[in-house]
């Protein structure tokens, strides 16, 4: 739907108009920042509030807005009214998708070699593991949001269920990682079905708010059920994973001793790296396989049009439930991996912020595009990491980036994706044709 009146704001042309816009923006900024930034409050030791002024900061912020709006206006006139489309013309788009065919295998080979190339750089290995965890989460959520079109704002709940399942089973019963991993997946899938039932009748934003509420409920229960989960203190000393029963430590029956090589703590990191890579690739493989099966096509049909879907005799109940269960299962796997990697989990790791981050990865990647999700995870987590030193400004920048990216590319980085099924010739599908899904 396009309303004609929405483009009535005429672009400012000429220097006076430019200055006028910048001046108005600066004036608005002055009012906005005057109290919030200009006056800093702090509670003293006796509970009495004191304040002091920071007019210098306000002045520099207002000046920045003035300068910034001139630059943005100039850029806008230079690029033209169409904005982003002109920046990335369709030819480049299809070029990217052509490169994409070779990019995916190349990226996979590079990923496989990461522990070899960066063997001595613990930081890079840790970061790579983190990125792969989010790639896996993104691919898992992609099943729910990207394929089935069900908007899930509480995905991190399943991640939490998986993490706590493994942590509690391993610390209380001493079960090994390889027994707990499938159990974590099954338990998460079970919760996925449990969530699926009430939301079967809901559509669109109602679904979003219920999943958000569900994620919060799980987190609040974890915080408050102290006897089981340890409450805000979390679960600590979670066992490290073993190489199919052989521990990765410095002992006599450790893997290093058995292989007759010198022990190094990096071995475990490398093992964890390949473990999450394998899990992520499993997610990807299962998703791609499922997409070609009737159930996968039912998911995509559901995303496009639920009413038509039902008219064609597709059972929307099972379709939705399987989508929730499958996505949740992968979230559970990722959670179990997270628990074993960290050795410690607490409710703080499973906030709404994480759900939003994973959803942003899926949408930024271009819904339904597997490669796009991987690239988006790399960009988001990598970019997030760049600001680690600026702890307080990190989330501020992250939020701004989310807004700007959505304005710039609402359809995600990869505008095209491969079709699920085709008759004779595979033609890339523009993501503009992908419906958002009101399921």
């Amino acid at each position: 739907m396009t309303a004609p009146s929405t483009n009535t704001a005429k672009p400012a042309t000429g220097i006076p108009a430019l200055l006028k816009t910048a001046f108005i923006n600066a004036l608005i900024a002055l009012v906005l920042f005057s109290l919030m930034v200009g006056i800093r409050t702090e509670a003293g030791s006796d509970g009495q509030l004191t304040y002091w002024t920071r007019f210098g900061e306000v002045a520099s912020l207002v000046a920045a807005v003035f300068g910034g709006s001139i630059v943005i206006e100039l850029l806008r006139q230079w690029i033209g009214p169409t904005g982003a489309e002109k920046l990335v013309p369709p030819a480049v788009q299809s070029g990217i998708s052509f490169v994409g065919r070779y990019l995916a295998p190349a990226l996979l080979i590079f990923t496989l070699l990461v522990p070899v190339i960066f063997y001595d750089q613990r930081y890079i290995l840790d970061l790579a593991i983190l990125v792969l965890t989010y790639v896996m989460l993104g691919w898992g959520l992609n099943v729910v949001v990207g394929l089935a079109g069900l908007l899930d704002l509480g995905y991190v709940a399943f991640y939490a269920v998986g993490a706590y399942s493994y942590a509690l089973l391993a610390t209380n019963f001493g079960w090994s990682f390889w027994v707990c991993l499938p159990l974590a997946g099954i338990l998460a899938a079970f919760w996925g079905v449990l969530l699926g039932f009430p939301v079967l009748r809901l559509r669109g934003d109602y679904l979003a708010i219920v999943t958000l509420a569900f994620g919060e409920i799980i987190r609040l229960v974890i915080i408050n059920w102290q006897e089981l989960t340890g409450g805000p203190n979390g679960v600590s000393s979670i066992p490290r994973p073993s190489f199919f029963g052989i521990p990765l430590d410095n002992s006599d029956n450790g893997l290093a001793a058995k292989l007759g090589i010198e022990y190094s703590p990096t071995h475990r990191i490398v093992f964890l790296f390949y473990l999450i890579l394998a899990l992520a690739l499993l997610t990807n493989w299962v998703t791609i396989r499922l997409r070609r099966l009737p159930i996968g096509r039912a998911w995509e049909a559901l995303r496009e049009d639920e009413v038509a879907c039902r008219a064609l005799g597709i059972n929307t109940t099972t379709t939705k439930l399987t989508a929730f269960a499958t996505g949740a299962m992968f979230g559970g796997f990722a959670g179990a991996f997270f628990a074993t990697r960290q050795g410690f989990i607490s409710p703080e790791s499973f906030t709404f912020q994480e759900s939003a981050l994973v959803l942003a990865i899926v949408v930024l990647g271009g819904m339904g595009s597997q490669l796009g999700v991987a690239l988006a995870a790399l960009a988001m987590i990598g970019g997030f990491e760049l600001f680690r030193s600026l702890e307080t400004y990190r989330m501020l920048v992250f939020g701004m980036a989310m807004v700007l990216i959505m304005i710039w590319r609402p359809r995600g980085l990869i505008g095209h994706r491969a079709p699920t099924v085709y008759l004779t010739k595979a033609q890339a599908i523009s993501s503009d044709l992908v419906k958002e899904g009101h399921g």
Binding site: I28, I39, T41, L49, D205, A213, G399, V403
Partner: protein
């Protein structure tokens, strides 16, 4: 029974605050059809601006409480409304006709921006103010010494809410702006063809919603005596729950939902456990939506084929 009556009063006051925030959600949803995730943070900003204005006025030596309250109310409403306007211009207007998930994500991003902006600008610690409006009435004293109290602040919160709600209902049903808003809600394209300035109407919706959220922020500050940068998130989800519970898009529904959530939360804390009050509120949301997928007062959604 006395305990029950006291909790009823407390619940109604909390519910009024949620209801004021919920109106902002419901209006935006009715017109633009998107969840304004940043609205809870707008409420938080309103609370902060009220706090800072208080500090300035008190340090200027002003002592007349009604004057202070009026000035704080006006300043908080004005500046917060400008925040609402700016947020709409920056994060939502460019995405109005975009892919449905895009404005939702930019709203979530905006919420992160506002939360962390307040944290950076005002610090992470809780900001208390001394009790400003004191006193109250004893409604009833039972034989075992339990007293039902109605404090002046509670009266003020409820009266303000009722007055604003009446004003607002008049605005929507009688004025030109209200007519434009209802027209945009029906069909934006048609409204534009008939001479309604859609952009301006949507901007005004955000402005009014933000101003009401600022009032809620002020009430929260007076009632609980504190603000902090994170309070927008929880209050925002609760108020959104209220809006959905009441049937999103419906103004009386938002108020009803707010009252329901406030009462549920208060009674649950009073009779069961304080820890699980949010779980109770969210669970009831899920239960209500299972049986009434469009909320208490919502219109049934018509499936267009």
């Amino acid at each position: 029974m006395d305990y029950f009556a006291q909790q009823l009063i407390n619940g109604l006051v909390l519910g009024s605050i949620y209801g004021l925030i919920a109106i902002g959600y419901t209006m935006v949803y009715g017109i633009v059809g998107m969840i304004n995730f940043a609205h809870g943070d707008v409420f938080m900003i309103g609370g902060f601006i009220a706090l800072i204005t208080f500090l300035i006025l008190v340090s200027l030596g002003l002592t007349a409480i009604p004057v202070i309250l009026l000035v704080v109310l006006l300043v908080a409403m004005a500046i917060t409304a400008l925040y609402g306007w700016t947020i709409e211009r920056i994060a939502y207007r460019p995405l109005r006709h975009s892919f449905r998930l895009a404005p939702m994500l930019s709203a979530i991003g905006m919420s992160f921006v506002l939360t962390n902006y307040s944290q950076v600008a005002q610090g992470a610690r809780v900001k208390p103010i001394p009790p400003f409006i004191t006193g109250g009435y004893t409604l009833h004293e039972s034989t075992d010494g339990f007293v039902i109290q109605l404090s002046n602040i509670q009266i003020m919160v409820v009266v303000t809410t009722i007055v604003l709600l009446a004003l607002f209902t008049w605005l929507v049903s009688r004025t030109r702006l209200g007519r434009d808003m209802r027209a945009c809600e029906q069909d934006q394209t048609m409204a534009a063809l008939l001479g309604v300035n859609v952009d301006r109407t949507i901007s005004m919706t955000f402005v009014i919603g933000a101003a009401l959220a600022a009032v809620a922020g002020l009430m929260y500050l007076l009632y609980y005596g504190l603000v902090d940068f994170f309070m927008g998130f929880v209050a925002g989800i609760k108020a959104f729950t209220a809006a959905v519970l009441g049937g999103i898009g419906s103004l009386p529904g938002a108020m009803l939902g707010g009252l329901a959530i406030g009462l549920i939360e208060t009674f649950w804390s009073a009779y069961f456990s304080v820890e699980y009050k949010d779980v109770a509120a969210f669970s009831i949301l899920i239960v209500v939506l299972i049986f009434m997928p469009t909320g208490l007062l919502g219109r049934p959604e018509v499936e267009k084929v």
